[in-house]
Amino acid sequence: MAKAILQLGALTCPSCMTKIQKAVENQDGVSNVKVLFNAGKVRADFDESKTSADNLSDVITDLGYDVLKVKVKENA
């Protein structure tokens, strides 16, 4: 398992949050999704054998939100 931290552009509508949350959660191998509305960040644990941080970034971009930075932390 690894943890992805995606920095998005500023989020303004609370409904964006639910949207991103559900879209990311629906990806295979993703758990513990947390959308930080005010910080404009998404944190999620994911299974590297099933998906990648870049894939999550694409999912969010497809919804119409800018992904500014992607960080991945390997969990020991």
Partner: protein
């Protein structure tokens, strides 16, 4: 589709401006140059242009099974378009988009405090390679064990240990202490602090989000999003409310057969201010706290803290600084200054906290003399002793004096008893077995404790209780000088937990203030645990509220801020619900239409944001330091 989606969300503000121009052109055509056909065409273009971004948002939400406000607006606009109300549809989309724009701008303001904090986080570092050359790298690329170089005035990029060089560090962002601290080889340094001078090399122990500063930022970011009970309720409510409005709209259409009325209901029912009202107060309140060194772990903590009526304090390290200082001394020799210089010289050889307090005190008195000393020996449990051909010196407790048959006069005994009664530790000095000095040393009370506790009481706190492991006399002496209602002394850490439990059973909402090191059980048991003055991991984890700066001014500010934030949330919910109620009445009476309804909605959203913004600038009055000294005397 996706590309269009991104393009539109990037250019949404330009689209909004274009719609505004089209509406203006339409009004000019209608009323100035009187070509109503052109006016209608402009309105149609504006409606379509405006409906596209809103509809796209609605659609992508719907794909994820979320019925959003955008969906209500989209249906309403399409409906208005079908029945030929182009003016209404254009105005509604414009107001909705323009409202979004204003929301975005004002929300940025409420988030500014935290943003300024995150911007303080280091981004690059000077990595020292094995060949000794340095290169600038992104902090994310650093690993544990990497060596980084920090130049004078530079920012420490990682948590680590100094392996070369010394310098003065400004650690205000971590400890709240703005006086620079000297650090040398082997000392720990923290990411986010600054070097005032000196070039140092650091061996990295943690990077980025794992550093203390990173954890503080993470905590604040998560806190702003963790909702208060009110906000959570509203959120749940909104997920049912929005679909309910849609159903009501359809019902209205079926029952009254009045299509314009049905789509107006959709617009009026938008839960705009309701959804944003409670979270925005939270963000502004928590942001204000973060700016003032108060880290509150989310809306829940804010809410509970605002209801606290009993504050339980630990004495050592909380009410007091945990640092020793000289309270009073009596002298019996002929040359007081020389005797003090002798004492200081002896104490300089020891690293006992009592000794350090005495050295500092003598230094503060301006005594510079450094007398010659005989070689000193430690007498275990008694003090220090030294003897040469010239003289014999004894520094220590009463047992040391007794063992050397030093005579203690009745008046000296009275001085000693006086110090003891005050709860001081007493240090005696004898030269040639003749008593010269009696010095009382005690843990220093925080300078703003009295004012801060008084401010808490003024803010509505009912009871302040002090718990301590110290003896009763020392505890009583501290309590007398402060607005404290109850004192319990000679307690073990588990006794403190029992007191907290007892207060909770009595029905009080209890906050416990401690340093987070040996108080963790009490911090966790209390309704609200407040960690004071330690940027340590333990305090960050067990506390609900963390005071970066050890000050009672900050504690009092945190309490009033929590109360104000909760009140602000309530105001916002009232405004939001009131708006919807007024709109519905307006609809029934017949004074509200789709366009004006949307206008009122957007106004109410701005009103709640502006109301929350009042929390950003709010800072309780700074204490005047002179005033505090006077009060303490």
């Amino acid at each position: 589709m996706n590309k269009l989606n991104i393009w539109i969300s990037k250019h949404q503000n330009k689209i909004t401006a274009a719609i505004a121009i089209l509406i203006a052109l339409s009004l000019i055509s209608n009323y100035l140059i009187k070509i109503p056909v052109a006016g209608t065409v402009f309105m149609i273009i504006a409606s379509i242009l405006g409906a596209i971004p809103v509809a796209l948002h609605a659609f992508s939400a719907l794909k994820n099974k979320v019925i959003s406000i955008e969906l209500l607006v989209t249906i309403a606009v399409i409906g208005a378009f079908i029945i030929g109300e182009y003016e209404e549809s254009a105005v509604v989309t414009f107001l909705f988009l323009f409202g979004n724009y204003l929301e975005q701008k004002t929300l940025e303001k409420t988030r500014s405090s935290v943003k300024s904090l995150t911007q303080m986080a280091p981004t690059t570092a000077e990595l020292v390679n094995e060949d000794g050359k340095t290169e600038t790298v992104d902090v994310d690329d650093l690993d544990e064990g990497d060596h980084v170089l920090v130049k004078p005035g530079g920012q420490i990029p990682v948590d680590g240990k100094i392996i070369d060089g010394t310098g003065y560090m400004n650690e205000a962002s971590i400890t709240g202490e703005s006086t620079p601290v000297k650090k040398g080889i082997g000392d720990k340094v923290f990411a986010g602090s600054l070097t005032d001078n000196g070039t140092i090399t650091i061996e990295t122990t943690s990077v980025g989000e794992d550093t203390t500063f990173g954890k503080i930022i993470e905590l604040v970011e998560e806190a702003q999003d963790s909702q208060s009970p009110a906000a959570r309720f509203i959120d749940k409510f909104a997920t049912y409310y929005t679909p309910a409005v849609l159903i009501i709209g359809i019902l209205v259409w079926i029952i009254t057969q009045d299509f314009p009325l049905a789509i107006t209901v959709l617009v009026l029912g938008c839960p705009g201010a309701l959804v944003i009202g409670a979270p925005v107060s939270n963000v502004a309140g928590i942001g204000n706290g973060a700016k003032n060194g108060i880290l509150m772990k989310g809306g829940n903590a804010v809410n509970t803290f605002s209801h606290v009526d009993t504050l339980v304090l630990d004495k050592t390290g909380t009410l007091t600084t945990g640092k020793m200082s000289v309270t009073e001394f009596s002298d019996y020799g002929k040359d007081k200054n020389h005797d003090l210089a002798l004492l200081s010289a002896v104490e300089k050889t020891s690293d006992h906290p009592l000794g350090q307090a005495i050295v500092k005190h003598v230094n503060d008195l301006g005594i510079k003399e450094t007398p010659e000393l005989p070689e000193l020996d430690t007498v275990k449990g008694q003090g220090l002793m030294g003897q040469n051909d010239d003289f014999k010196i004894l520094v220590g407790n009463a047992r040391l004096m007794k063992a050397n048959n030093v005579k203690i006069s009745a008046s000296a005994q009275k001085d000693i008893d006086g110090r003891m009664n005050d709860g001081d530790s007493v240090v005696l000095m004898a030269v040639n077995d003749e008593l010269r000095l009696v010095i009382g040393v005690n843990d220093q009370l925080r300078s703003d404790a009295r004012e801060g506790l008084q401010a808490l009481k003024d803010a509505g706190l009912k009871r302040i209780v002090m718990l301590t492991g110290d003896n009763k006399v020392a505890a009583q002496r501290v309590a007398e000088r402060l607005p404290i209602d109850e004192v319990h002394a000679e307690l073990l850490p588990e006794d403190k937990v029992d007191f907290v439990k007892k207060f909770k059973e009595q029905g009080s909402t209890v906050a416990f203030v401690g340093d987070g090191i040996n108080d963790s059980p009490s911090l966790a048991t209390a309704d609200i645990g407040i960690g004071m003055g330690t940027g340590t991991d333990v305090a960050i984890e067990t506390s609900d509220i963390i005071l970066v700066k050890s000050s009672f001014d900050a504690l009092a500010h945190a309490y009033t801020l929590a109360k104000k934030t909760v009140a602000n949330t309530k105001e916002n919910i009232f405004i939001a619900v009131g708006t919807v109620a007024l709109l519905l009445i307006g609809l029934v009476v017949g004074v509200i239409h789709m366009g004006s309804g949307m206008f009122v909605h957007e106004i109410s959203i701005l009103v709640v944001i502006f109301n929350a913004m009042r929390l950003i600038g709010n800072k309780s009055q700074k204490l005047d330091s002179n005033q505090v000294v006077q009060a303490a005397n």
